[in-house]
Homo-oligomer: 326 residues x 2
C-alpha cells in the first residue's frame, strides 16, 4: 500500500501558498513491531498549523491531525479495523506507533466530528471557556471567529450555561448562521462599516468574557468594552500569524488595570488528562441536539495546500476537513 504525503518544501512568508508544499509518493514501507498502518479517512486543517510551519524543517511532512482506519497491525493493543486519531500529518497511508494514536470514541458520528466539534477545536472551546472563562448565567460572552470550528462551540456552550452570546465573523452569511442556526443573541460582521456601533449596541451591559480567536483591531474594540473582573482568553490570533513584522495598532492594556481584568493565553493540551470530561460534555450536547456544526469538505489530499491558504482569508466557513478516503 503506497503512501502519498505532502511535505513543506519552503517556509512561507506571510500566507502559505501552494508553492510551499509538494506531494510525494514514498511507495510502501514494511511495518516494524508495535506499528500499525493507517488508511487516512479525514484530514484536519486548522489555523494553529500555520505556527507549526515555523517549527518544522523544509522537507518534513506537513503537520496535522487525521482520522484513520487501521489496515495492518503489528501492535498487540490495536487491531485491524480500529478507527483512530493520529497526528501523522498530511499522509494517505501513514505508519504510526501504537503509542502515538488514540481510539476514537465510538459515540462520535459522523466521524469527522472527532476533528472538529468533538475533537481538538471543540475541546479547546470547552476547556478554555469553562476552566478559564468561568461563565455565569446572565454574563455577556463575545467570541471572535464565532462561526468557526472553535467559536461555534464556544457560543453554544455559553448559551447552554445561560449567557448572552455575541459572535463576530466576516460575512453576512456567517452572521446569519450564528444567530439563526447556532442561537447566538447577536452576530456582527466586522467587514461592515458600522460594526463597532453594532458591537456597542449588542454589548450594552459590557463584556464579561471575550474568547479571542483572531487578535488585532477586533480585539482592541472588544477589550475597550470589558467589564470589571472580565476574563479575556487568548485562544488564537489568526489575524497576526502571517505578519512578517509587528502590526501597528492601538494598545489598550490599561483597560485591564481600570477593570481589574484578566487575560490568559491557553492551549488545549494543558488539559489533556481531562479530555474525557470534555468529550462527555460535548457528546451529551450532540445527543441532546444542542451541538450544531458546519463543515467544509474538500476532496483529495492534493487539494490540501490550496484549502489551507483559504483559512487565513476568511473565505472558509466552519470546520475545514479533507476527505481522503471513504
Amino acid at each position: 500500500m503506497s503512501n502519498k504525503k505532502i511535505i513543506m518544501t519552503k517556509k512561507p512568508i506571510g500566507v502559505p501558498e501552494e508553492s510551499n508544499f509538494k506531494l510525494i509518493d514514498e511507495g510502501s514501507i514494511d511495518l516494524k513491531a508495535n506499528e500499525v498502518r493507517l488508511q487516512t479517512l479525514w484530514l484536519s486543517l486548522d489555523p494553529y498549523m500555520r505556527g507549526a510551519m515555523n517549527r518544522i524543517r523544509e522537507g518534513e511532512t506537513m503537520v496535522g491531525e487525521l482520522i484513520g482506519k487501521v489496515v495492518e497491525s503489528k501492535s498487540e493493543i490495536i487491531s485491524e479495523g480500529a478507527i483512530v486519531l493520529s497526528k501523522a500529518g498530511w499522509q494517505t497511508s501513514p505508519i504510526v506507533n501504537e503509542n502515538d494514536i488514540k481510539i476514537v470514541d465510538p459515540r462520535i458520528s459522523p466521524l469527522s466530528l472527532a476533528l472538529g466539534a468533538i475533537g481538538m477545536p471543540g475541546l479547546t472551546a470547552y476547556f478554555g471557556l469553562t476552566k478559564i472563562g468561568d461563565p455565569k448565567p446572565g454574563e455577556t460572552v463575545v467570541v471572535s471567529a464565532g462561526s468557526g470550528a472553535v467559536g461555534s462551540v464556544v457560543g453554544q456552550i455559553s448559551k447552554k450555561i445561560g449567557c448572552k452570546v455575541v459572535g463576530i465573523a466576516g460575512s453576512d452569511k456567517k452572521v446569519e448562521y450564528m444567530t439563526s442556526e447556532l442561537g447566538f443573541d447577536h452576530g456582527i460582521n466586522y467587514k461592515n462599516s458600522d460594526w463597532t456601533e453594532n458591537l456597542s449596541k449588542s454589548t450594552e451591559s459590557g463584556v464579561d468574557i471575550y474568547f479571542d480567536n483572531v487578535g488585532g483591531i477586533i480585539s482592541d474594540e472588544v477589550i475597550d468594552r470589558i467589564n470589571e473582573n472580565a476574563r479575556v482568553l487568548i485562544c488564537g490570533q489568526i489575524s497576526q500569524y502571517n505578519n512578517s513584522g509587528v502590526e501597528l495598532g492601538p494598545r489598550n492594556l490599561k483597560q485591564f488595570l481600570f477593570k481589574r481584568a484578566k487575560l490568559e493565553g491557553f492551549m488545549v493540551y494543558t488539559y489533556e488528562d481531562q479530555y474525557k470530561e470534555g468529550l462527555d460534555f460535548l457528546i451529551n450536547m450532540l445527543d441532546q441536539n444542542e451541538l450544531k456544526f458546519k463543515e467544509t469538505v474538500i476532496e483529495e489530499i492534493e487539494n490540501a495546500p490550496h484549502a489551507f491558504s483559504k483559512l487565513f482569508t476568511g473565505e472558509n466557513f466552519g470546520k475545514l476537513v479533507i476527505k481522503v478516503h471513504d
Copy 2:
C-alpha cells in the same frame, strides 16, 4: 483655623499643568458631630491621581491621600492628637468624618512612609507581587519604574523571596540606585540606545513575572521575553495616561498564547480587608533593615501642581510627597 485647598479648575488634556489648578482659602468652618479637623502634615502625589482628574468635576478639590494630625475633634472614637490617614485631597486643614480616616500604625517611622513604602504604594507592591505574581525563588522578575514608590518595593520583596530582579528606569542615577542601594541584580536605562540588548542579556533565562507600571513600548519589549506560564501584572500604565488618543505601537498578545501566560490588572483596594498582613510584612522588612526607600520632598502645598506634572516626565525620583506642616 483657615483651610487652604487646591481645586481642579479645568480638566487637563495630556500632561496636567499648573493652569489646571487653583489655590483657594475657604476660611474656617465649624465641625459637626462625628467630624474631626486635621492639620495636614504630608500630602502624597501619585500617578493614579491623573486618572482621577478625569472623574472629578471642575471646581472640586483635587484628590489625594494625606497624613494629618487631629487638632479638633467632635468624634467619640478619634481624639485630638491622633495621627491619621485621610483621602481628603489637597487641603491644609480638612474637616473629615471619623469613618473616613484611619489611625496610622504607630510602628511607622518616619511618618511619610505611611504614604509610600508602607502605605498605598508599598501595599500595591506587596499584594500585586505576592497574590498575583506568586514569585518562586530563582524566578526572574522585571519591574518597570523600578526606582519608583511601587517598583522599589516590588524589587526588594522579590529579592527577599530569592528571585532575580531586573529594574527598568529612565536615568543612570536611578539605575545606580536600584543596583547599589536596593540590591537589584540588573538595572536598565530605557533611554539608552542599547537598552533592549541589555534587557535581553539580563533576562537570559526569560521573564517569569513582569510587574508593569508604565505600559507602552517598554512593556512590548518585556512581554516579548516572557517564559511559559509567565505572569504579567498591569499595575500602572503611566506612559499612556496623558494620551489624548490611542498610541500606535506593536501588539504582541500572541505571546500570551504561545507561552500560556497570564496578564492581570489589579488595584490595591481589592485587598483592603487584608491590609494588616501587608503592613506587618513591610514593617518587619523595615525593622530588619531590608526596606530601603527614597523620597523627594517638596515644601508648601502651593507647589503641588508643579510637582505633580513632574511625575509624568520621568524627572521625579522616588516617592513624591509634599511637606505641608511640621
